[in-house]
């Protein structure tokens, strides 16, 4: 337990510093690569189950045989990785932003039980600020693309209010956090592919802003069947 606690504390510290760097500047960075790297790093830290899910499971006493396997993401609660890949950059950012908005809402309810939820809420807000900055950066480019709908967020699929049954409420919270970390893992993969594909080929859907095209001419489009291996942090 003690090493986990230390690990979590360190993670939170690093994450907090990352978010603080964004908040401290107060204005968006105009450097695409820097912002992308920041988003990747933030998503990398937020996908870590030791920040929310693990403490929650322990606090609620769900770390028992027979219960763990029921702590899985509810289907449709969060957009799948494939769905995220199918989105344009701006669409992806809009979906990410909306989904995290719902997550923030749920985390507020969890804060009574889980003190780390408050801290993670601050991190999510910082992450959303970076999403906002990236959106502005993309909007500044003259990318011509057709409008596309965002993927439905968790608010559309999850029960809007917690059930009265505390046991079910515990399981739902567990599933929700599981889905959240999986979602952030998918988002991390997408951000990673943004960086990778930029160097390979141009993509009509994922090309960087025109201002950045000079250094990003080899960006390639995502393939629908291209799946990235999960990092193995979440039970699938």
């Amino acid at each position: 337990m003690r090493p986990q606690l230390v690990q979590r504390t360190l993670l939170s510290l690093v994450l907090g510093l990352l978010f603080l760097s964004t908040a401290a500047t107060g204005k968006c960075s105009g450097k695409y690569h820097e912002l992308l790297q920041q988003l990747q790093n933030q998503a990398d830290l937020m996908q870590d189950t030791s920040t929310l899910l693990d403490p929650y499971i322990h606090l609620q006493g769900l770390d028992q045989a027979g219960l763990k396997e029921h702590c899985k993401e509810s289907p449709g609660a969060f957009p799948s990785e494939d769905a995220l890949r199918g989105l344009s950059q701006r669409g992806f950012l809009r979906t990410l932003n909306a989904t995290l908005g719902h997550v923030l809402h749920r985390l507020t309810a969890l804060q009574q039980d889980l003190t780390v939820a408050r801290e993670q809420g601050r991190n999510i807000r910082g992450f959303r600020s970076n999403i906002h900055c990236m959106s502005q950066l993309l909007r500044g480019s003259s990318e011509m693309e057709t409008a596309e709908p965002t993927q439905p967020g968790p608010g559309a699929t999850l029960p809007p209010t917690p059930v009265s049954d505390t046991f079910q409420h515990k399981l739902q919270g567990c599933r929700f956090l599981h889905g959240y970390h999986r979602f952030m893992h998918s988002a991390r993969q997408v951000f990673k592919e943004w960086g990778d594909s930029r160097c390979r080929s141009r993509s009509r859907r994922h090309r960087p802003p025109r201002a950045l095209q000079r250094g990003a001419r080899r960006m390639r489009p995502f393939r629908r069947d291209e799946r990235l291996m999960p990092r193995g942090q979440l039970p699938r």
């Binding site: 606090l59 006493g61 028992q64 027979g66 219960l67 039980d113 009265s164 505390t166 046991f167 515990k170």
Partner: protein, 977 residues
């Protein structure tokens, strides 16, 4: 009239009948059967709520009734509970009653019925039960929905230690369902085909988020669970009390005990109820509550504190009088003024309590954390107290607290203030001692004193004053100031007597003087030393008083006698004391401590009385003496260890053991006895009982034998180490004789040789000079005495030589002689040189004067021949040798010079020197009287020619260039052989 009568009769009958009816009604049992019984389920609290009415109370405002209730489970015949409910029924009532089920109501259908009976004293006996109402069913399963599995009760809150029953309802009888409590499977009782119940006894608190219980349908992804919230037991508040500080507010406090709060559940709350006033307040804090005292000065208060949570409540009460619960506020403004060395005044203030209240204040004086003085002072508002009997230069702390003087309840908080009293002059004289020794003939006194204790110093000692007063010359005083860090000083005095005053000084003044008298003449400070034994408590020292004038005694010793300085210690004792025990933490076993007892005379002079020496505990010697072997003979040798000091040993040396062992001898010598060493080897042991005997003679030994010996001292604790023996080999019997004779001889010979070597020149001159001194010749004396007493030896200075042959004989000459076949030309460099000493006449051919030296030492053969030859003397002087040699002095010089040259050029021992003798004639002194006759052989019986010519070469002179010898001819015609 008849009508009136009939009406009157009818009325009367009606009244009678009414009365009769009334009597009948009251006499019969009331048919108050419960009606409209309705049963509902409160799932959250597991209550069966009953509601019914009673409709037959038309004649009574209220009536006490008793209801009997039956509850059945699963079926009406399975009655699980029967109970009575008594209540006062009012007109047109709707009655309510609830029953709490242990089994979750959802798990089974329940049936309820009841009946009633009047239970009011207004209704006379007998009283009868009404009929039972019909069974009413309560079935919660109907509203559960279609889930395959249900688990109840949901989110139940229980107190730790309670018993809880849970149950599950399965829709499918074929499903195999297993249930778990915190991961551990539990087994229950099947109530019917699809309902099972589990009874959990004495549930314990696991976590605030609840205990998880869940059931799963095997082979299906169906899980249902409940959370059982187990709360800690609500405790009764402890230490509940109320008090006031100002008669305006009552502060009630308590210990709430364990917190029973759970997340999303209301925490325990506390309410304060005062029964006299009927007021009740909800406390804001869990452990305290403020109650406003009414202005009408309520005297008595009866408080009830109730702790309450969702599961129950606990209460505690207290009854008190307000005036008995006064807890004054902490005093303030505590000051000290007029602080002197022994006194100080303390002042403080208190918050007033009412108009007539008096406070009792306790003033504590603390020193070093302990209460030294305690004083009680009654005050209204301002307090003041004079503290006395204080110690100078001491830190104190004054502490004040107060309480109600009339009804003590609690002390207020304390206020304290530290202060330091002023310094005063030291109150005690120093404990001074001295050590007198003589340095370079001057008595030197070293004074020692012990620092004053804090109690007696009365302040910081700044310095010490030493006043030396010459008792023989009272007018002379010497004052020495010694720094405060020192604890002694050294004074060099003369032969007078001195009185020394020592005082300690602080800022307030000096201490009383400590006086000691020292005599310049230490006198005889010797005393017989006695031995004492140390114990665990120290050394018991006693002495015999010598005079009745002693004013005291001093015992002196060193704590570390082996160190320098030895840490001199002393102990003052009164005049009537003749013994004491000297103890010190520095005393160690195996260390010799010397004690000196001094008698202090009325003149304050210390005289040595006795000396004691002892060990706290004697130890065995750790080292053996260094033994020297001497006087080694073939039969004995002497052992000595005179350098061994017996005073610095770890015990009193009582003697020595001498061990001797030899392979040659099996038996011990007389005085020895056999002993076995630690290595099981045998040896002989001799015991010396006198520690001062430090020599021992080993006798009766065998010559040429190896002996091993060891000398070890012993004390009362044992002997020294018996480890290393020293080997000695006795010589043979004659060796000492040889040594006594041969050794001196060798030394003498060596001395002679050295002397000869060093005095070789002198010896040569004396014993075998190159030119012998005729005067010293024994031959001369022999001749003189036997033949011719007038015969004298010619002095060289008297001889006028005309020529001297100087012989140069280099190394090569010898070779020439030995190899006769060599040509002479090879030896040209050996030409003789002729010194013409006299102005030669060219034609002179007469024989010259004949000088014959005899030296038997060098040429015995020649001497034996009995003749000496006359060599021809060449009259012509070489041109290279003019006349400087004409004078005798020059001649001597030349002789000497050439002689020396010839010595240097001729190899010693190999040189053949021809001594040309000049025979002094009778006319030796007459130069003019030269013989004119032709030369004849002259028998030189009187003077023998001394020759150093090798015997084999004593032949007629060779040719001129022969190189054998050179002849300085006196006359060419006079050649003698």
């Amino acid at each position: 009239m008849a009508l009136f009568a009939a009406f009157q009769t009818s009325l009367l009958l009606a009244l009678l009948s009414l009365r009769a009816y009334q009597s009948e009604v009251l006499a019969e049992p009331l048919p108050l059967t419960p009606e409209s019984l309705n049963v509902s389920i409160d799932s959250a609290h597991q209550y069966l709520n009953l509601q019914w009415s009673v409709h037959s109370l038309a004649y009574y405002q209220e009536l006490k009734m008793l209801f009997q209730i039956q509850i059945s489970r699963m079926k009406t015949s399975n009655v699980i509970w029967v109970g009575n409910y008594s209540t006062v029924v009012k007109r047109d009532p709707v009655l309510h009653w609830s029953w709490k089920s242990e089994l979750p109501l959802e798990c089974a259908t329940h049936f309820v019925r009841m009946r009633s009976r009047v239970d009011d004293a207004k209704i006379p006996e007998p009283r009868f039960w009404s009929n039972w109402s019909s069974w009413k069913e309560a079935d919660a399963q109907k509203s559960l929905g279609r889930d395959p599995l249900f688990l109840f009760p949901k989110d139940k809150l229980v107190e730790e230690g309670s018993n809880v029953t849970i149950c599950y309802i399965s829709r499918n009888q074929q499903d195999n369902i297993s249930c778990y409590l915190e991961g551990q499977q539990i087994h229950g009782e099947q109530l019917d085909s699809n309902v099972s119940a589990f009874k959990l006894n004495k549930v314990s608190f696991i976590r605030k988020t609840g205990t998880n219980i869940f059931c799963k349908v095997d082979q299906k992804d169906v899980i249902k669970g409940i959370v059982l919230f187990v709360s800690k037991v609500l405790e009764e508040p402890k230490d509940f009390s109320c008090e006031t500080q100002d008669f305006k507010t009552l502060m009630c406090t308590w210990d709430p005990g364990t917190d029973t709060s759970l997340p999303k559940r209301s925490s325990q709350s506390y309410t304060l109820f005062e029964s006299f006033s009927g007021k009740k307040i909800l406390c804001e804090h869990k452990n305290s509550c403020n109650w406003q005292v009414d202005s009408d000065s309520q005297e008595m208060y009866n408080f009830t504190l109730m702790a309450e949570n969702a599961l129950g409540n606990r209460s505690v009460s207290v009854l008190f009088s307000l005036t008995h619960r006064v807890h004054p506020k902490t005093p303030y403004n505590l000051f000290l003024k007029n602080v002197s060395g022994t006194k100080a005044t303390v002042t403080w203030k208190v918050h007033p309590i009412g108009n007539y209240s008096t406070l009792l204040c306790q003033l504590d004086l603390l020193g070093e954390g302990n209460v030294i003085q305690q004083h009680n002072v009654s005050i209204k508002e301002n307090g003041e107290y004079l503290l006395s009997e204080l110690e100078p230069d001491t830190e104190y702390m004054a502490r004040v607290r107060c309480a109600d003087a009339n009804h003590f309840w609690k002390w207020s908080g304390s206020i304290s203030q530290k202060f330091v009293t002023a310094e005063a002059a030291p109150s005690e004289a120093l404990d001074v001692w001295r050590n007198v020794k003589s340095v370079s003939g001057h008595p030197t006194v070293t004074l020692f004193w012990k620092p004053l204790s804090k109690l007696h110093a009365n302040g910081k000692i700044l310095s010490y004053n030493v006043i030396v007063e010459n008792l023989d010359r009272p007018s002379r005083l010497e004052v020495h100031s010694v720094p405060a860090t020192a604890n002694g000083t050294e004074l060099t005095l003369d032969q007078y007597s001195y009185q020394i005053h020592v005082t300690a000084l602080n800022s307030a003044g000096p201490s009383p003087a400590s006086v000691i008298v020292v005599s310049g003449d230490p006198g005889n400070e010797e005393a017989e030393e006695e031995r004492i034994n140390g114990t665990e408590d120290g050394f018991s020292v006693s002495w015999k008083p010598q005079s009745r004038k002693a004013i005291g005694y001093v015992v002196e010793w060193c704590d570390h006698p082996q160190d320098l300085p030895c840490d001199l210690q002393w102990k003052n004792l009164s005049s009537n004391t003749t013994s004491t025990v000297i103890s010190s933490g520095a005393f160690r076993p195996g260390v010799r401590y010397n004690f000196r007892i001094y008698e202090i005379s009325t003149e304050r002079m210390a005289n040595l009385l006795e000396k004691k020496a002892g060990y706290l505990k004697e130890l065995a010697p750790s080292d053996n003496p260094q033994v020297v072997v001497s006087n080694l003979t073939s039969h004995s040798f002497t052992l000595s260890w005179k350098d061994y000091s017996t005073d610095s040993q770890p015990g009193f040396i009582q003697g020595y053991y001498v061990y001797l062992r030899s392979k040659a001898e099996k038996e011990c010598h007389p005085g020895f006895k056999k002993a076995t060493l630690s290595d099981k080897s045998a040896c002989c042991q001799h015991r010396i009982d006198n520690p001062e005997q430090k020599t021992f003679v080993m006798e009766n030994l065998q010559p040429e034998s190896v002996y091993e010996f060891l000398v070890t001292p012993y004390t009362s604790a044992g002997s020294g180490p018996v480890d290393t023996f020293t080997k000695v080999t006795t010589p043979d019997e004659y060796s000492h004789i040889l040594i006594r004779i041969i050794l001196p001889m060798i030394i003498c010979v060596l001395l002679i040789m050295i002397t000869c070597y060093l005095k070789s020149q002198w010896m040569k001159e004396k014993c075998y000079p190159d030119i012998p001194d005729p005067y010293k010749s024994n031959v001369l004396s022999l001749i003189k005495s036997k033949e011719n007493p007038h015969l004298t030896i010619m002095n060289v200075s008297d001889c006028v030589p005309d020529a001297i042959e100087v012989i140069h004989k280099p190394e090569g000459s010898k070779i020439q002689f030995l190899g006769a076949s060599k040509s002479l030309t090879e030896t040209e460099f050996t030409k003789p040189a002729y010194l013409y000493l006299l102005p030669a006449e060219k034609n002179y051919s007469g024989p010259g004067p004949c000088i014959c030296f005899e030296n038997l030492t060098y040429n015995e053969a020649a001497a034996d021949s009995g003749s000496c030859g006359h060599f021809p003397v060449t009259p012509q002087a070489p041109p290279s040798q003019p006349g400087p040699l004409t004078s005798p002095e020059n001649l001597l010089k030349a002789l000497e010079k050439n002689y020396m040259n010839s010595l240097g050029e001729i190899a010693a021992g190999e040189a053949s020197v021809n001594y040309v003798s000049q025979l002094a004639s009778q006319m030796s002194g007459d130069k003019d009287g030269l013989p004119t006759n032709p030369p004849e052989p002259v028998h030189c019986s009187e003077y023998k020619m001394q020759m150093a010519i090798p015997l084999g070469l004593a032949s007629p002179p060779p040719a001129e260039n022969s190189g054998l010898s050179s002849t300085t001819p006196l006359d060419q015609s006079e050649h003698y052989r």
